[in-house]
Amino acid sequence: MWVLQSFPPVARDFVAAVPQAIWVAILVFIASVVAAVITGRITTRLLLQLNIPTVIEGTALERTAQEFGTSTVNLISGIVRYFIIAVGAVGSLSVTDLQYGTALWQEAVQFLPRVFVALLVVLTGILIGDKVELFVDERLRQIKLPEITIISRLAKFTTFYIAALVALSQLGVATLALVVLLAVYLFAVVAFAAVAFVDLLKSAAVGTYLLLHQPYAIGDEVEIGDTRGIVQEIDLFVTHVENEDEELIIPNTLIFKRGIVRVR
Protein backbone atom coordinates (compact mmCIF):
# COMPACT_ATOMS: atom_id res chain seq x y z
CA MET A 1 0.00 0.00 0.00
CA TRP A 2 3.04 2.25 -0.13
CA VAL A 3 2.01 3.44 -3.57
CA LEU A 4 -1.17 4.77 -2.10
CA GLN A 5 0.78 6.68 0.54
CA SER A 6 2.36 8.88 -2.11
CA PHE A 7 -1.05 9.83 -3.60
CA PRO A 8 -2.77 13.03 -2.56
CA PRO A 9 -5.48 12.47 0.04
CA VAL A 10 -8.39 12.91 -2.46
CA ALA A 11 -7.07 10.16 -4.76
CA ARG A 12 -6.41 7.97 -1.75
CA ASP A 13 -10.02 8.28 -0.69
CA PHE A 14 -11.20 7.54 -4.22
CA VAL A 15 -9.08 4.38 -4.50
CA ALA A 16 -10.20 3.21 -1.11
CA ALA A 17 -13.87 3.89 -1.95
CA VAL A 18 -13.86 1.52 -4.97
CA PRO A 19 -13.70 -2.16 -4.02
CA GLN A 20 -10.46 -3.97 -4.85
CA ALA A 21 -12.28 -6.50 -7.06
CA ILE A 22 -13.25 -3.73 -9.50
CA TRP A 23 -9.62 -2.69 -9.83
CA VAL A 24 -8.59 -6.23 -10.59
CA ALA A 25 -11.39 -6.48 -13.14
CA ILE A 26 -10.26 -3.30 -14.88
CA LEU A 27 -6.67 -4.59 -14.96
CA VAL A 28 -7.79 -7.92 -16.43
CA PHE A 29 -9.80 -6.11 -19.08
CA ILE A 30 -6.91 -3.84 -20.06
CA ALA A 31 -4.57 -6.85 -20.24
CA SER A 32 -7.03 -8.63 -22.52
CA VAL A 33 -7.24 -5.60 -24.84
CA VAL A 34 -3.45 -5.50 -25.08
CA ALA A 35 -3.33 -9.25 -25.73
CA ALA A 36 -6.05 -8.86 -28.38
CA VAL A 37 -4.12 -6.15 -30.24
CA ILE A 38 -0.91 -8.18 -30.16
CA THR A 39 -2.61 -11.42 -31.24
CA GLY A 40 -4.44 -9.53 -33.99
CA ARG A 41 -1.12 -8.23 -35.31
CA ILE A 42 0.44 -11.69 -35.17
CA THR A 43 -2.53 -13.21 -36.99
CA THR A 44 -2.29 -10.60 -39.75
CA ARG A 45 1.44 -11.22 -40.11
CA LEU A 46 0.93 -14.97 -40.17
CA LEU A 47 -1.78 -14.79 -42.83
CA LEU A 48 0.38 -12.48 -44.94
CA GLN A 49 3.35 -14.83 -44.53
CA LEU A 50 1.22 -17.72 -45.70
CA ASN A 51 0.43 -15.69 -48.82
CA ILE A 52 -3.29 -15.86 -48.11
CA PRO A 53 -4.14 -12.62 -50.01
CA THR A 54 -2.87 -13.99 -53.35
CA VAL A 55 -4.53 -17.35 -52.77
CA ILE A 56 -7.95 -15.83 -52.19
CA GLU A 57 -7.61 -13.08 -54.75
CA GLY A 58 -10.76 -12.59 -56.81
CA THR A 59 -13.12 -14.47 -54.49
CA ALA A 60 -16.46 -12.84 -53.77
CA LEU A 61 -15.72 -12.43 -50.06
CA GLU A 62 -12.44 -10.67 -50.70
CA ARG A 63 -14.10 -8.35 -53.20
CA THR A 64 -16.91 -7.52 -50.81
CA ALA A 65 -14.39 -6.89 -48.06
CA GLN A 66 -12.45 -4.58 -50.34
CA GLU A 67 -15.61 -2.66 -51.17
CA PHE A 68 -15.92 -1.89 -47.48
CA GLY A 69 -12.32 -0.73 -47.46
CA THR A 70 -10.92 -3.74 -45.63
CA SER A 71 -9.66 -7.21 -46.56
CA THR A 72 -10.30 -10.79 -45.59
CA VAL A 73 -7.08 -10.89 -43.61
CA ASN A 74 -8.21 -7.86 -41.58
CA LEU A 75 -11.59 -9.48 -41.12
CA ILE A 76 -10.13 -12.68 -39.69
CA SER A 77 -7.68 -10.90 -37.40
CA GLY A 78 -10.58 -8.65 -36.34
CA ILE A 79 -12.61 -11.67 -35.31
CA VAL A 80 -9.65 -13.02 -33.34
CA ARG A 81 -9.25 -9.66 -31.63
CA TYR A 82 -12.89 -9.33 -30.62
CA PHE A 83 -12.92 -12.89 -29.37
CA ILE A 84 -10.03 -12.22 -26.99
CA ILE A 85 -11.60 -8.96 -25.83
CA ALA A 86 -14.86 -10.78 -25.20
CA VAL A 87 -13.01 -13.42 -23.16
CA GLY A 88 -11.31 -10.62 -21.21
CA ALA A 89 -14.63 -8.92 -20.54
CA VAL A 90 -16.17 -12.14 -19.29
CA GLY A 91 -13.09 -12.80 -17.13
CA SER A 92 -13.20 -9.35 -15.55
CA LEU A 93 -16.93 -9.64 -14.87
CA SER A 94 -16.44 -12.98 -13.15
CA VAL A 95 -13.73 -11.44 -10.94
CA THR A 96 -16.15 -8.79 -9.69
CA ASP A 97 -18.50 -11.54 -8.45
CA LEU A 98 -21.50 -9.83 -9.92
CA GLN A 99 -24.54 -12.07 -10.08
CA TYR A 100 -26.50 -12.05 -13.31
CA GLY A 101 -28.80 -15.08 -13.11
CA THR A 102 -25.74 -17.28 -12.84
CA ALA A 103 -26.87 -20.41 -14.73
CA LEU A 104 -27.68 -18.54 -17.94
CA TRP A 105 -24.47 -16.57 -17.72
CA GLN A 106 -22.33 -19.68 -17.30
CA GLU A 107 -23.89 -21.27 -20.35
CA ALA A 108 -23.31 -18.13 -22.41
CA VAL A 109 -19.66 -18.11 -21.40
CA GLN A 110 -19.19 -21.72 -22.37
CA PHE A 111 -20.90 -21.00 -25.67
CA LEU A 112 -18.53 -18.20 -26.67
CA PRO A 113 -15.59 -20.28 -27.98
CA ARG A 114 -17.98 -22.37 -30.04
CA VAL A 115 -19.42 -19.28 -31.68
CA PHE A 116 -15.90 -18.17 -32.42
CA VAL A 117 -14.97 -21.49 -34.08
CA ALA A 118 -18.26 -21.55 -36.00
CA LEU A 119 -17.58 -18.06 -37.32
CA LEU A 120 -14.10 -19.08 -38.48
CA VAL A 121 -15.51 -22.21 -40.14
CA VAL A 122 -18.13 -20.18 -42.01
CA LEU A 123 -15.51 -17.67 -43.18
CA THR A 124 -13.14 -20.42 -44.34
CA GLY A 125 -16.04 -22.24 -46.01
CA ILE A 126 -17.03 -19.13 -47.96
CA LEU A 127 -13.42 -18.58 -49.03
CA ILE A 128 -12.90 -22.18 -50.13
CA GLY A 129 -16.27 -22.26 -51.90
CA ASP A 130 -15.46 -19.12 -53.87
CA LYS A 131 -12.04 -20.48 -54.72
CA VAL A 132 -13.54 -23.78 -55.90
CA GLU A 133 -15.96 -21.89 -58.12
CA LEU A 134 -13.14 -19.86 -59.66
CA PHE A 135 -11.03 -22.96 -60.21
CA VAL A 136 -13.81 -24.96 -61.87
CA ASP A 137 -14.80 -21.96 -63.98
CA GLU A 138 -11.22 -21.61 -65.21
CA ARG A 139 -11.15 -25.27 -66.17
CA LEU A 140 -14.44 -25.07 -68.03
CA ARG A 141 -13.67 -21.85 -69.83
CA GLN A 142 -12.78 -23.63 -73.06
CA ILE A 143 -16.31 -24.99 -73.28
CA LYS A 144 -18.20 -22.04 -74.59
CA LEU A 145 -21.58 -22.99 -73.18
CA PRO A 146 -23.24 -20.42 -70.91
CA GLU A 147 -25.10 -23.06 -68.89
CA ILE A 148 -21.81 -24.73 -67.95
CA THR A 149 -21.50 -22.32 -65.00
CA ILE A 150 -24.06 -24.47 -63.19
CA ILE A 151 -21.30 -26.98 -62.47
CA SER A 152 -19.09 -24.43 -60.77
CA ARG A 153 -22.09 -23.03 -58.89
CA LEU A 154 -22.95 -26.52 -57.71
CA ALA A 155 -19.39 -27.07 -56.48
CA LYS A 156 -19.50 -23.74 -54.65
CA PHE A 157 -22.78 -24.35 -52.90
CA THR A 158 -21.77 -27.89 -51.94
CA THR A 159 -18.75 -26.41 -50.17
CA PHE A 160 -20.94 -23.76 -48.50
CA TYR A 161 -23.36 -26.42 -47.40
CA ILE A 162 -20.64 -28.54 -45.79
CA ALA A 163 -19.14 -25.49 -44.06
CA ALA A 164 -22.57 -24.49 -42.74
CA LEU A 165 -23.10 -28.03 -41.50
CA VAL A 166 -19.80 -28.04 -39.60
CA ALA A 167 -20.56 -24.60 -38.13
CA LEU A 168 -24.06 -25.62 -37.03
CA SER A 169 -22.89 -28.82 -35.40
CA GLN A 170 -20.23 -26.72 -33.66
CA LEU A 171 -23.04 -24.62 -32.19
CA GLY A 172 -24.84 -27.76 -31.09
CA VAL A 173 -27.81 -27.38 -33.42
CA ALA A 174 -29.43 -30.69 -34.44
CA THR A 175 -28.07 -31.31 -37.94
CA LEU A 176 -28.98 -34.93 -38.47
CA ALA A 177 -31.53 -34.18 -41.19
CA LEU A 178 -29.04 -31.97 -43.02
CA VAL A 179 -26.37 -34.69 -42.81
CA VAL A 180 -28.81 -37.21 -44.27
CA LEU A 181 -29.59 -34.76 -47.06
CA LEU A 182 -25.87 -34.36 -47.78
CA ALA A 183 -25.38 -38.12 -47.87
CA VAL A 184 -28.28 -38.57 -50.28
CA TYR A 185 -26.96 -35.78 -52.48
CA LEU A 186 -23.40 -37.15 -52.58
CA PHE A 187 -24.67 -40.66 -53.23
CA ALA A 188 -26.75 -39.35 -56.13
CA VAL A 189 -23.74 -37.53 -57.59
CA VAL A 190 -21.53 -40.62 -57.32
CA ALA A 191 -24.17 -42.95 -58.73
CA PHE A 192 -24.92 -40.56 -61.56
CA ALA A 193 -21.21 -40.21 -62.39
CA ALA A 194 -20.69 -43.98 -62.31
CA VAL A 195 -23.53 -44.59 -64.73
CA ALA A 196 -22.71 -41.67 -67.00
CA PHE A 197 -18.98 -42.23 -67.22
CA VAL A 198 -18.83 -46.00 -67.39
CA ASP A 199 -17.84 -46.06 -71.08
CA LEU A 200 -15.31 -43.31 -70.62
CA LEU A 201 -13.75 -45.12 -67.68
CA LYS A 202 -13.55 -48.37 -69.62
CA SER A 203 -11.98 -46.58 -72.58
CA ALA A 204 -9.50 -44.85 -70.31
CA ALA A 205 -8.46 -48.19 -68.80
CA VAL A 206 -7.85 -49.63 -72.25
CA GLY A 207 -6.22 -46.37 -73.35
CA THR A 208 -3.73 -46.64 -70.52
CA TYR A 209 -2.74 -50.10 -71.71
CA LEU A 210 -2.48 -48.94 -75.32
CA LEU A 211 -0.33 -45.95 -74.41
CA LEU A 212 1.95 -48.03 -72.19
CA HIS A 213 2.49 -50.94 -74.54
CA GLN A 214 1.75 -49.39 -77.92
CA PRO A 215 0.70 -52.57 -79.73
CA TYR A 216 0.20 -50.33 -82.73
CA ALA A 217 1.63 -46.87 -83.43
CA ILE A 218 0.81 -43.80 -85.48
CA GLY A 219 1.34 -44.64 -89.15
CA ASP A 220 0.47 -48.35 -88.88
CA GLU A 221 -2.17 -49.72 -91.16
CA VAL A 222 -4.79 -51.54 -89.11
CA GLU A 223 -8.10 -53.31 -89.46
CA ILE A 224 -10.73 -52.99 -86.75
CA GLY A 225 -13.90 -54.94 -87.49
CA ASP A 226 -14.64 -54.29 -91.13
CA THR A 227 -12.82 -51.02 -91.37
CA ARG A 228 -9.28 -50.54 -92.40
CA GLY A 229 -7.05 -47.49 -92.34
CA ILE A 230 -3.98 -45.72 -91.08
CA VAL A 231 -3.70 -44.84 -87.39
CA GLN A 232 -3.48 -41.07 -87.04
CA GLU A 233 -3.71 -40.52 -83.32
CA ILE A 234 -4.00 -42.53 -80.11
CA ASP A 235 -5.17 -40.90 -76.92
CA LEU A 236 -6.62 -42.00 -73.61
CA PHE A 237 -10.18 -42.42 -74.85
CA VAL A 238 -10.19 -42.85 -78.60
CA THR A 239 -8.09 -43.92 -81.55
CA HIS A 240 -8.30 -42.00 -84.82
CA VAL A 241 -8.07 -44.23 -87.87
CA GLU A 242 -8.20 -42.73 -91.33
CA ASN A 243 -8.72 -44.27 -94.74
CA GLU A 244 -9.17 -42.78 -98.20
CA ASP A 245 -12.33 -40.86 -97.52
CA GLU A 246 -13.24 -41.11 -93.85
CA GLU A 247 -11.68 -40.55 -90.48
CA LEU A 248 -12.96 -43.02 -87.90
CA ILE A 249 -12.88 -42.14 -84.25
CA ILE A 250 -13.01 -45.44 -82.39
CA PRO A 251 -13.52 -45.71 -78.63
CA ASN A 252 -10.66 -47.68 -77.12
CA THR A 253 -13.08 -50.19 -75.53
CA LEU A 254 -14.07 -51.31 -78.99
CA ILE A 255 -10.44 -52.05 -79.83
CA PHE A 256 -10.23 -54.44 -76.88
CA LYS A 257 -13.57 -56.05 -77.64
CA ARG A 258 -13.01 -56.65 -81.32
CA GLY A 259 -9.24 -56.86 -81.40
CA ILE A 260 -7.11 -55.09 -83.92
CA VAL A 261 -5.39 -56.44 -87.01
CA ARG A 262 -2.11 -54.90 -88.02
CA VAL A 263 -1.69 -55.02 -91.77
CA ARG A 264 1.87 -55.51 -92.90
Binding site: A217, G219, I230, Q232
Partner: protein
Protein backbone atom coordinates in the same frame (compact mmCIF):
# COMPACT_ATOMS: atom_id res chain seq x y z
CA UNK B 1 -1.59 21.26 -88.60
CA UNK B 2 -4.54 21.36 -91.01
CA UNK B 3 -2.42 19.56 -93.58
CA UNK B 4 -1.47 16.84 -91.14
CA UNK B 5 -5.03 16.12 -90.12
CA UNK B 6 -5.93 15.97 -93.81
CA UNK B 7 -3.53 13.07 -94.08
CA UNK B 8 -5.28 11.25 -91.27
CA UNK B 9 -8.70 12.10 -92.70
CA UNK B 10 -7.69 10.47 -95.98
CA UNK B 11 -6.69 7.32 -94.16
CA UNK B 12 -9.85 7.01 -92.13
CA UNK B 13 -12.35 8.12 -94.80
CA UNK B 14 -15.21 5.64 -95.46
CA UNK B 15 -13.84 2.68 -93.57
CA UNK B 16 -15.83 -0.44 -92.72
CA UNK B 17 -13.80 -1.64 -89.79
CA UNK B 18 -11.12 -0.80 -87.27
CA UNK B 19 -8.58 -3.50 -86.43
CA UNK B 20 -6.80 -2.92 -83.13
CA UNK B 21 -3.72 -4.99 -82.39
CA UNK B 22 -3.23 -5.76 -78.70
CA UNK B 23 -5.05 -2.70 -77.34
CA UNK B 24 -4.95 -1.91 -73.63
CA UNK B 25 -8.21 -2.18 -71.73
CA UNK B 26 -8.76 1.54 -71.27
CA UNK B 27 -7.94 2.29 -74.88
CA UNK B 28 -10.38 -0.30 -76.16
CA UNK B 29 -13.04 0.93 -73.73
CA UNK B 30 -12.74 4.44 -75.11
CA UNK B 31 -13.32 3.28 -78.67
CA UNK B 32 -16.13 0.86 -77.91
CA UNK B 33 -17.96 3.50 -75.89
CA UNK B 34 -17.70 5.97 -78.77
CA UNK B 35 -20.42 4.03 -80.67
CA UNK B 36 -18.65 3.91 -84.02
CA UNK B 37 -20.75 2.79 -86.97
CA UNK B 38 -18.18 0.18 -88.01
CA UNK B 39 -17.03 -2.85 -85.99
CA UNK B 40 -13.89 -2.85 -83.87
CA UNK B 41 -11.88 -6.02 -84.34
CA UNK B 42 -9.38 -6.90 -81.64
CA UNK B 43 -6.37 -9.00 -82.62
CA UNK B 44 -4.31 -10.02 -79.60
CA UNK B 45 -2.67 -13.05 -77.99
CA UNK B 46 -5.42 -13.03 -75.33
CA UNK B 47 -8.88 -11.54 -75.23
CA UNK B 48 -8.39 -9.65 -71.99
CA UNK B 49 -10.55 -6.73 -73.09
CA UNK B 50 -13.53 -9.07 -73.61
CA UNK B 51 -14.08 -7.90 -77.17
CA UNK B 52 -17.06 -9.35 -79.05
CA UNK B 53 -15.09 -9.54 -82.30
CA UNK B 54 -11.78 -11.07 -81.35
CA UNK B 55 -9.10 -12.88 -83.33
CA UNK B 56 -6.43 -14.79 -81.47
CA UNK B 57 -2.86 -13.96 -82.40
CA UNK B 58 -0.92 -17.24 -82.09
CA UNK B 59 2.61 -15.83 -82.27
CA UNK B 60 4.16 -12.38 -82.30
CA UNK B 61 4.80 -11.57 -85.94
CA UNK B 62 7.86 -9.40 -86.34
CA UNK B 63 6.77 -8.22 -89.77
CA UNK B 64 3.91 -5.72 -89.54
CA UNK B 65 2.63 -6.89 -92.91
CA UNK B 66 2.30 -10.48 -91.70
CA UNK B 67 0.52 -9.22 -88.63
CA UNK B 68 -1.96 -7.18 -90.67
CA UNK B 69 -2.50 -10.03 -93.09
CA UNK B 70 -3.24 -12.36 -90.21
CA UNK B 71 -5.76 -9.96 -88.70
CA UNK B 72 -7.53 -9.18 -91.97
CA UNK B 73 -7.68 -12.82 -93.06
CA UNK B 74 -9.09 -13.72 -89.67
CA UNK B 75 -11.71 -11.00 -90.03
CA UNK B 76 -12.67 -12.22 -93.51
CA UNK B 77 -12.91 -15.78 -92.23
CA UNK B 78 -15.21 -14.76 -89.37
CA UNK B 79 -17.34 -12.73 -91.78
CA UNK B 80 -16.72 -9.38 -90.09
CA UNK B 81 -15.31 -7.75 -93.21
CA UNK B 82 -15.80 -8.65 -96.85
CA UNK B 83 -13.80 -8.20 -100.01
CA UNK B 84 -13.84 -4.61 -101.20
CA UNK B 85 -14.10 -3.14 -97.70
CA UNK B 86 -11.56 -0.68 -96.47
CA UNK B 87 -10.33 -1.09 -92.92
CA UNK B 88 -7.88 0.77 -90.75
CA UNK B 89 -5.37 -1.10 -88.62
CA UNK B 90 -3.95 0.39 -85.45
CA UNK B 91 -0.76 -1.42 -84.53
CA UNK B 92 2.70 -1.10 -83.12
CA UNK B 93 5.56 -1.31 -85.58
CA UNK B 94 8.22 -0.43 -83.08
CA UNK B 95 7.94 -1.67 -79.53
CA UNK B 96 6.38 1.28 -77.74
CA UNK B 97 2.66 0.62 -77.99
CA UNK B 98 0.36 1.40 -80.93
CA UNK B 99 2.20 3.88 -83.13
CA UNK B 100 0.68 3.59 -86.59
CA UNK B 101 -2.50 3.68 -88.62
CA UNK B 102 -2.57 1.61 -91.79
CA UNK B 103 -5.39 1.68 -94.31
CA UNK B 104 -5.95 -1.66 -96.01
CA UNK B 105 -8.17 -2.46 -98.95
CA UNK B 106 -9.51 -5.96 -98.35
CA UNK B 107 -8.98 -8.03 -101.47
CA UNK B 108 -7.33 -11.02 -103.06
CA UNK B 109 -3.89 -9.42 -102.85
CA UNK B 110 -4.00 -9.36 -99.07
CA UNK B 111 -4.50 -13.12 -98.80
CA UNK B 112 -1.36 -15.10 -98.12
CA UNK B 113 -2.86 -18.01 -96.18
CA UNK B 114 -1.16 -17.04 -92.96
CA UNK B 115 -4.37 -17.21 -90.94
CA UNK B 116 -5.29 -20.43 -92.67
CA UNK B 117 -1.92 -21.88 -91.69
CA UNK B 118 -2.51 -21.43 -88.00
CA UNK B 119 -6.24 -21.82 -87.67
CA UNK B 120 -7.38 -24.18 -90.42
CA UNK B 121 -4.52 -26.62 -90.40
CA UNK B 122 -5.20 -30.22 -89.62
CA UNK B 123 -3.18 -29.94 -86.45
CA UNK B 124 -4.40 -27.84 -83.53
CA UNK B 125 -3.40 -24.21 -83.81
CA UNK B 126 -1.70 -24.40 -80.43
CA UNK B 127 0.47 -27.26 -81.73
CA UNK B 128 1.55 -25.22 -84.75
CA UNK B 129 2.33 -22.34 -82.46
CA UNK B 130 4.38 -24.57 -80.14
CA UNK B 131 6.38 -26.02 -83.03
CA UNK B 132 6.97 -22.52 -84.28
CA UNK B 133 8.28 -21.42 -80.93
CA UNK B 134 10.55 -24.46 -80.70
CA UNK B 135 11.94 -23.74 -84.18
CA UNK B 136 12.50 -20.10 -83.30
CA UNK B 137 14.23 -21.03 -80.06
CA UNK B 138 16.42 -23.46 -81.94
CA UNK B 139 17.24 -20.82 -84.53
CA UNK B 140 18.20 -18.33 -81.87
CA UNK B 141 20.54 -20.52 -79.89
CA UNK B 142 21.71 -23.12 -82.37
CA UNK B 143 23.67 -26.14 -81.25
CA UNK B 144 26.61 -24.98 -79.13
CA UNK B 145 26.63 -21.65 -80.93
CA UNK B 146 26.69 -23.14 -84.41
CA UNK B 147 23.62 -22.67 -86.59
CA UNK B 148 21.45 -25.75 -86.98
CA UNK B 149 18.74 -26.73 -89.39
CA UNK B 150 15.55 -28.58 -88.55
CA UNK B 151 12.45 -29.80 -90.30
CA UNK B 152 9.14 -30.36 -88.52
CA UNK B 153 6.19 -31.97 -90.25
CA UNK B 154 3.04 -31.20 -88.28
CA UNK B 155 -0.27 -33.00 -88.65
CA UNK B 156 -1.56 -35.95 -90.67
CA UNK B 157 1.20 -37.98 -89.05
CA UNK B 158 -0.15 -41.37 -90.17
CA UNK B 159 0.12 -40.49 -93.82
CA UNK B 160 3.44 -38.74 -93.38
CA UNK B 161 4.84 -41.83 -91.69
CA UNK B 162 3.78 -43.88 -94.69
CA UNK B 163 5.45 -41.44 -97.06
CA UNK B 164 8.77 -41.52 -95.26
CA UNK B 165 11.26 -44.05 -93.98
CA UNK B 166 13.48 -44.18 -90.90
CA UNK B 167 17.12 -43.21 -91.23
CA UNK B 168 17.89 -44.91 -87.93
CA UNK B 169 16.10 -46.07 -84.78
CA UNK B 170 13.40 -43.69 -83.71
CA UNK B 171 14.37 -42.08 -80.38
CA UNK B 172 10.73 -41.15 -79.72
CA UNK B 173 9.40 -44.68 -80.06
CA UNK B 174 6.99 -45.58 -77.24
CA UNK B 175 7.42 -42.17 -75.70
CA UNK B 176 4.70 -39.63 -75.07
CA UNK B 177 6.40 -36.32 -75.57
CA UNK B 178 4.39 -33.32 -76.69
CA UNK B 179 5.90 -30.32 -78.43
CA UNK B 180 4.45 -27.99 -75.79
CA UNK B 181 6.29 -29.70 -72.93
CA UNK B 182 9.06 -27.57 -71.43
CA UNK B 183 11.53 -30.45 -71.63
CA UNK B 184 11.23 -30.51 -75.42
CA UNK B 185 13.29 -27.38 -75.95
CA UNK B 186 16.30 -28.98 -74.33
CA UNK B 187 15.71 -32.36 -75.92
CA UNK B 188 15.23 -31.12 -79.46
CA UNK B 189 18.39 -29.11 -79.26
CA UNK B 190 20.26 -32.34 -78.75
CA UNK B 191 18.28 -34.22 -81.37
CA UNK B 192 18.59 -31.45 -83.93
CA UNK B 193 22.06 -32.66 -84.78
CA UNK B 194 20.38 -35.76 -86.15
CA UNK B 195 19.56 -35.62 -89.79
CA UNK B 196 16.04 -36.00 -91.12
CA UNK B 197 12.63 -34.72 -90.14
CA UNK B 198 10.65 -34.58 -86.91
CA UNK B 199 7.09 -35.80 -87.29
CA UNK B 200 4.43 -34.31 -85.01
CA UNK B 201 0.86 -35.57 -84.80
CA UNK B 202 -2.35 -33.50 -84.91
CA UNK B 203 -2.49 -33.28 -81.13
CA UNK B 204 1.19 -32.41 -80.75
CA UNK B 205 2.77 -35.76 -79.92
CA UNK B 206 6.24 -36.16 -81.34
CA UNK B 207 5.85 -39.36 -83.33
CA UNK B 208 9.30 -39.74 -84.73
CA UNK B 209 12.64 -38.14 -85.44
CA UNK B 210 15.19 -39.25 -88.03
CA UNK B 211 12.69 -39.60 -90.86
CA UNK B 212 13.67 -39.39 -94.49
CA UNK B 213 10.73 -37.89 -96.39
CA UNK B 214 9.89 -39.44 -99.73
CA UNK B 215 7.29 -37.27 -101.42
CA UNK B 216 7.19 -36.62 -105.13
CA UNK B 217 8.58 -33.13 -105.62
CA UNK B 218 6.75 -32.61 -108.88
CA UNK B 219 5.05 -29.25 -109.24
CA UNK B 220 6.40 -27.82 -106.02
CA UNK B 221 7.04 -24.14 -106.51
CA UNK B 222 9.27 -22.59 -103.88
CA UNK B 223 11.81 -19.81 -104.25
CA UNK B 224 14.99 -20.93 -105.96
CA UNK B 225 18.00 -21.19 -103.76
CA UNK B 226 16.37 -23.03 -100.89
CA UNK B 227 17.98 -26.38 -100.24
CA UNK B 228 16.93 -30.00 -100.12
CA UNK B 229 15.44 -29.67 -96.65
CA UNK B 230 13.01 -26.98 -97.78
CA UNK B 231 12.17 -28.84 -100.95
CA UNK B 232 11.36 -32.02 -99.03
CA UNK B 233 9.36 -30.02 -96.50
CA UNK B 234 7.33 -28.25 -99.15
CA UNK B 235 6.74 -31.39 -101.19
CA UNK B 236 5.36 -33.43 -98.27
CA UNK B 237 2.68 -30.78 -97.68
CA UNK B 238 1.46 -31.26 -101.23
CA UNK B 239 0.96 -34.97 -100.83
CA UNK B 240 -0.48 -34.92 -97.31
CA UNK B 241 -2.57 -32.52 -95.24
CA UNK B 242 0.38 -31.56 -93.12
CA UNK B 243 2.11 -28.27 -92.47
CA UNK B 244 5.87 -28.05 -92.33
CA UNK B 245 7.99 -25.65 -90.41
CA UNK B 246 11.60 -25.49 -91.51
CA UNK B 247 14.56 -23.85 -89.83
CA UNK B 248 17.20 -23.09 -92.40
CA UNK B 249 20.78 -23.89 -91.51
CA UNK B 250 22.25 -21.47 -94.02
CA UNK B 251 20.25 -18.28 -93.49
CA UNK B 252 18.71 -19.03 -90.10
CA UNK B 253 15.13 -18.17 -91.10
CA UNK B 254 12.07 -20.13 -90.03
CA UNK B 255 9.69 -20.83 -92.89
CA UNK B 256 6.24 -22.38 -92.99
CA UNK B 257 4.87 -24.38 -95.90
CA UNK B 258 1.37 -25.57 -96.64
CA UNK B 259 -0.05 -27.24 -99.76
CA UNK B 260 3.40 -27.06 -101.32
CA UNK B 261 3.67 -23.29 -100.98
CA UNK B 262 5.79 -21.01 -98.86
CA UNK B 263 3.32 -19.19 -96.60
CA UNK B 264 5.62 -16.96 -94.62
CA UNK B 265 9.02 -16.64 -93.04
CA UNK B 266 10.34 -15.09 -89.86
CA UNK B 267 13.78 -14.29 -88.59
CA UNK B 268 14.37 -15.81 -85.13
CA UNK B 269 16.93 -13.11 -84.36
CA UNK B 270 14.25 -10.43 -84.36
CA UNK B 271 12.38 -12.08 -81.50
Amino acid sequence: MAVLSDLVDDIIADIQGLVMFSPTGSRYERFINADLEYPIIVVAPENNVNAATYIELPIEFDDARDQIRFGIEGAIESGIVAEGDAVVCNLSIFDDGPDSLVRVQVGESIRSGIYDLFVNSRADSSVIRDVFNVAIELGKKGQKGKPVGALFVVGDAGKVMNKSRPLSYNPFEKSHVHVGDPIVKVMLKEFSRLDGAFIVSDSGKIVSAYRYLEPGAEGVDIPKGLGARHMAGAAITRETNSTTIVLSESDGLVRAFKSGELIFEVDPEVY
